[in-house]
Amino acid sequence: MLSRVADSLYWLGRYIERAENNARMLDVNLQLMLDATLVKNRYSQQHWESIIYSLEDTKLFEKLYPAINGETVVEFVSFEKMNPNSVYSCLCSARESARTVREQISSEMFEQLNRMFLDFRSGEAQGLFRSSSYQFFQWVMQGCHLFQGIADATMAHDEGWDFIQLGKFLERADRTSRILDIKYHILLPKGEQIGGNVDLVQWLAVLNSCSAGEPYRKHFQDQVAPWKVAEFLIKHQTFPRSIRFCVDSFDYSLHRITGVERGDFLYRVEAERLSGKLLANLSYVIIADIFQIGLHEYLDTIQLRLIEIGNAVYKEFCEWLET
């Protein structure tokens, strides 16, 4: 497969995943802010600040908007063309990537992506948002899911497919770590206790931002507790948005691409070594260790390692595109 094509497919996977995650995170937080105890203005501002902070887009945001509140954050993360990570920008970039590799993906995949893009361009998506933000976010998420489903059902699961998976799972691991990290930045309103009602509502929102509310309850059949939420989202074996699951799936696709067998700590290329190392850490770390290190610090390290892995993939398969 052409290196440039592999790179485009990788980014196609990343952008679709990013668009979907942005939509879910906004949806959950908008609903959370409807909760009566939380609408106090000053608190609400801190809440939205922490979201922008976790996306590492604070500088750009401040350049574009005079005030930080639900409206401007939603605008920035959903529609802002100047923000390369907004839902709209992600879909544009995904479509651009898809256009350069149309002969590699199925027509059905392109058409699904193209329809979403056209609805944004025509203003239809914006109209939907104005009439119901909930429906708008559902539409984005479903559109992205539909794309993944179409890809699964219509595209040959060969090397190109695996590159899409690399992008998808690396992005998803990164997003889950950031969503979990939001809770670190959110301050509890004055007078609220750690472990109190508001605290728990916030942890629930974190779960829901990862579509993990129901799976979590199935797993623990228990109250929402911070360390359990963290454990679930970091370490769960089969929940498809846990960081461990994502890194495991990434590692699987990577080995399919290189042809090196998995298991017995085998690796040939640096990216395999790095993903194997991270996977081992995620498998054997216990939650007490994580809280010992500090959840935020631990997640920070994970994010850095994911970046490292992404760079190693590029270096291995695409580096000579620069020459």
Partner: protein, 479 residues
Amino acid sequence: MGMLFDNYDPGSFFDEMFEPSGQIRTHYDRLFQRYSELTPEEFERKRAAADNSFLNQGVTFTVYNNDEGTERIFPFDLLPRIVPFAEWRQIEQGLVQRITALNLFLQDVYHEQRIIEDKVVPREIVESAVHFRPEFMGVNVPKGIYMHICGTDLIRDSDGRYLVLEDNGRCPSGVSYLLENRQAMKRVFPNLFSRHAVQPVDTYCQELLNVLRYIAPDDKSEPTVVLLTPGIYNSAYFEHSFLARTMGIEIVVGADLVAQNGNLMMKTTKGLRQVDVVYRRIDDDFLDPSVFRKDSLLGVSGIVDVYRRGNVSLANSIGTGVADDKATYYFVPQMIKYYLDQEPILPNVPTYLSHFDSDRAYILEHLSELVVKAANESGGYGMLMGPTSTAAEREKFRAAINENPRNYIAQPVVPLSRCPSYADGHFEGRHIDLRPYILFGEKITIIPGGLTRVALRKNSLVVNSSQGGGSKDTWVLNE
């Protein structure tokens, strides 16, 4: 008459569907019956469905100098152009004859130059052609074929005679629209096809791939064929990707390729892999910055060297532009006589070449009646439409012709044939042309019909997509 055809006026032009008396031409009988049953509302619905499917599939071309929404669909008219079998037979023979002569001309011009020695084509005309590549004198091309893919534009005059307007022998585009138009028609009017015996067009990509494989160096049996595109911002990118997809070959940009040790290689995730045949959709000028334009970022440095060594084949070959130059066009009928000893089956439009003193005098005297064209422009640019021109425009062309006589030809205004086309709730006559696609490999293959382009603006004679043109499905009927 049916509603959609109420008050239809064939005018003084040759109408594809109606006799001058208003009688339906027999090969349109069934189609007329079907379309007469439609109300404007039903027709409008079908039209919207067709447009939507083009848009969703991204069947678009790119319009420049337009900030937002740079992709447009190529307007599609739902009333097909029908070509009866016998008529097509004759066109086909004419095109085979023409591409054969053009290839013999290219072979000759880049080798012995007999046609120049024998004073059939003036040396100045050949050597001053912008796309003539003297660097390729004496280079032998694979299987002796220069022009593998040619799009020849045909028009019909007021008597319905087919005339050749121009040849596109470098990177002709549009074939993907022809193929998509057929798909769209089948979706929107499925029953029409069971009632008409329409010759299929969908073998084109297979035939094209056959040509590309045929010219592989050393008759390699499993050659690696790629399509080289300038990239997604090129106006014809949809077509490039469509063709690559349908042929199952890689689509590459210049940065994917590298010339190394006399071979052309592409950069893959598993290392460098040799490329044998390049269907390039990049003009000569941009192909290789080490040989042609130094500022080209689209091409591959060193690809020309690999080509010269015979280690990669290009379609079309380098230098074919000397044959589709508008001044060269003037001489194609003479070429057919010279190389094939035949009369041209498809005549040229009567043409004056301002290179010749007597022709130039005539042109300058009759500027307001003629169409003047610059020899090296295409897409409807660099053109003077005499009858609708202003005095200032005529003076500009007069000066330009005097300054550079070689660079201009002039033709009488041909009243292009018309075909009923949908406009505001009913059908009106609109001018059309026809671009068949000719493939030259082991044999010469012509996809039945071609791309019918239609000037959708009322009274306009310009069919180019950049200037308000659209297209129609083209049906060649079985015998």
